[in-house]
């Protein structure tokens, strides 16, 4: 990151920044509001949110401030906050916006690793030099990457960034992994349906179904896609399976998008999500698993990797 003027910040205090944990909590508040069927204008009670999210009121207040800054809630004249949007029609909060301390460095490391700009083996000092930020900021970013299984401590001062997770082959390998696990998760004996979450999710999916190729809301789709697959992970009733799948989806969400997917395919994907969700609601878990198998296979791109006049056929790449 040379020559973009950021070097001048080295010796000055870093600007006020948003803690990514508060952003996560802000998202959790929106999720809770969606699951409880809350509408715009309804009051968001700090104490109730604190107990629903299992945290104290102080972080809830900070999370509400973040939502207020993004016009998702409004301050009430009598104190507290009111919901300003329909939570099921709202995309996931961006927690990696520019100028937001460790969130920015976390995103920059992932971008640069994925783009082949930095190597897998790094030290805090080397990253400090590259991004021109404090040791603490780099350490926090690395901790966040480690939490998402995108980095791990190596020998001495080294950190190992997991390039395999975001390389060109990662998408194909991810589909292979999900094809082996997600249908299975749906058929585990202790799968437990989370009806409020399913209902909220279906609301969002139905909003998406009403859109067309030109006005399709990709960000809302990204949220429903993540929430849908995560819901299956955490509902499966087996903690080992739940952990493996949750980690995988979190990492998938954190990684820069691999390739470009057409709106048409995303619209189809949304319909497939709805169909699977309907079977889960009806308790038809074998059918849901079969539909999941189809869904994952249809999501894989089958474009030829090389084509041209006189080029022999059957030179294919499966990736996305």
């Amino acid at each position: 990151m040379h020559g973009d003027g950021r070097q001048t910040r080295t010796m000055t205090p870093e600007p006020k920044r948003t803690n990514f944990r508060h952003v996560e909590l802000a998202q959790k508040i929106l999720d809770v509001a969606g699951e409880r069927g809350m509408a715009p204008g309804e009051r968001l009670a700090e104490q109730a949110l604190a107990s629903l999210c299992n945290v104290s009121r102080t972080p809830i207040r900070k999370a509400l401030q973040i939502l207020a800054e993004r016009d998702l809630v409004t301050a009430d004249a009598e104190g507290g906050y009111l919901l300003a949007i329909d939570p099921v029609a709202t995309a996931r909060l961006e927690d990696t916006a520019e100028g937001e301390g460790e969130g920015e460095i976390y995103a920059a490391i992932l971008r640069d690793l994925s783009a082949g700009r930095i190597a897998e083996n790094q030290t805090v000092a080397a990253l400090q030099r590259r991004y021109d930020v404090s040791r603490q900021t780099v350490q926090n970013a690395l901790m966040k990457l480690a939490e998402e299984n995108l980095a791990e401590r190596a020998a001495g001062q080294q950190w190992l960034l997991k390039h395999f997770a975001i390389s060109g082959d990662a998408a194909a390998k991810s589909y292979e992994f999900r094809l082996a696990t997600e249908p299975l998760a749906l058929t585990l004996p202790e799968f437990k349906r989370d009806m409020p979450a399913i209902t909220a999710l279906r609301q969002s999916m139905l909003i998406l179904r009403g859109m067309n190729e030109t006005n399709f809301d990709r960000k809302l789709f990204d949220r429903t896609d993540y929430d849908f697959h995560l819901l299956i992970a955490r509902s499966c009733g087996n903690p080992f399976m739940a952990e493996a799948l949750t980690n995988h989806h979190r990492r998938r969400r954190a990684s820069p998008p691999a390739g470009h997917v057409n709106a048409f395919r995303l619209m189809q994907s949304n319909i497939e999500h709805i169909q699977i969700l309907e079977q889960i609601e009806r308790g038809q878990m074998e059918l849901a698993a079969d539909l999941m198998r189809v869904h994952i296979q249809l999501s894989q791109s089958q474009r030829p990797r090389l084509a041209g006049r006189g080029v022999p056929p059957a030179f294919k790449l499966i990736a996305r």
Binding site: R117, G168, D169, E213, P304, R305, G308
Partner: protein, 433 residues
Amino acid sequence: MAPAKTIALFPEASYGAALNCVGIAQELRRLGHRPVFICHPGFSGVFAEYGFAEYQLTEADAAPTDWNDFIERHQDAFRQAPFDQLESYVGPTWEAIVDTAMRVEEPLRQLLGRLKPDAIVLDNVVMFPAIANAGVPWIRVVSCAETEIPDENVPPYLSGCGDNERAAWTAFADRYEKTVASAHRRFSAFLAECGLKAPTAPVFLGPSPWLNLLLAPDIIRHDRHAALDPRRFIFLDGCVRHEAPYTPPRFASHNEAPLVLTSFGSLGAMDVAMMKRMIAVFATLPCRFLVNAGHWREEYREVPDNVFIDSWFPQPSVVEQASLFIHHGGNNSFCEALYYGVPSLVMPYCWDGHDNAARAAETGVGRRLGRYDWSDTDLTAAIDGLLGDHEMQARLKANAAKMHKAAGVTRAAEEIVRVMSDASIGAGEASNA
């Protein structure tokens, strides 16, 4: 509304033709019809992504492919001048094209029998007897440069000659005819077996008696000696598909700088060493560079902060935002650059890329640079020159507005529908007679 018609689109196995047909198919679908795609063996997956049914032709006796050999062979051929490529690349390619046409004939005939299309759109360089014998109108799309349709005033196809290089035209045309003679003889014999007469050598695909659609926009069109019949030949002024908007990635530097797209097509990406040489120059320039590395994306390490490499881009949506497009002169890429009013730096390596490179330079819509014949200074000067040429940019933007107004994909779809409608009226009149 008239009942929906089934239109079978059969593009050749290249991204240019395939994606050009996607644009036409999107419009046919919008008009309420049912476009479906026939794919060459191995070339599937592209159309399904845009929501179209795909039917892949199968080859019963396809031999296994030695890819290392293929790549090695063509790496060298792509370094040669168009004249020398006749023997090393163009001749063998025509042999391969004729082989494919012969191998897919039976599966194609059977497939058309099952699909029962109301019309067939052929975007290819060779005739398939099953199409001529299908009993429904077929429409030819000329995805290549305008040079594919010969004329006394048009430089020979694949020659890379300019208008003012007439002295070289005859020598190239003679050598071309000799080079493809054997493939053409085999092709003629094959067509005769199918009850058809082959077009006169060295042509492998004659015009459709119903409709021929050409991409070439007015700004690069040749002044023909014999004008094409406007009832059967329609210039589309570009034919660009709809893609979802593209958000450029955040770069590690130069995020406000002009955006430059570099793409040589899936085949052109194979020369990683050449691409790396270009990227080293890009690192020194105040621009953001998007580079299509195709299948070889993982070969790149130590990528500069102002460069982003990927294996696929939704090209029209990227070109729309670019200030410069560096490409190989593939006709689809060239037309997309023109459609969005973006200057082209054409670095050709084969086929009609040579023709488009020459045409870009002589019509003032871009520049030509030899793919291998450049120094760092040459590449820098070409990029700087095009980014700084405000007169060219203004002219290109005005032309782009004309091309948008012409709405090539819509025109193509409407003309195809007209042909189907005329054919069914004709059939109705015949049966009433």
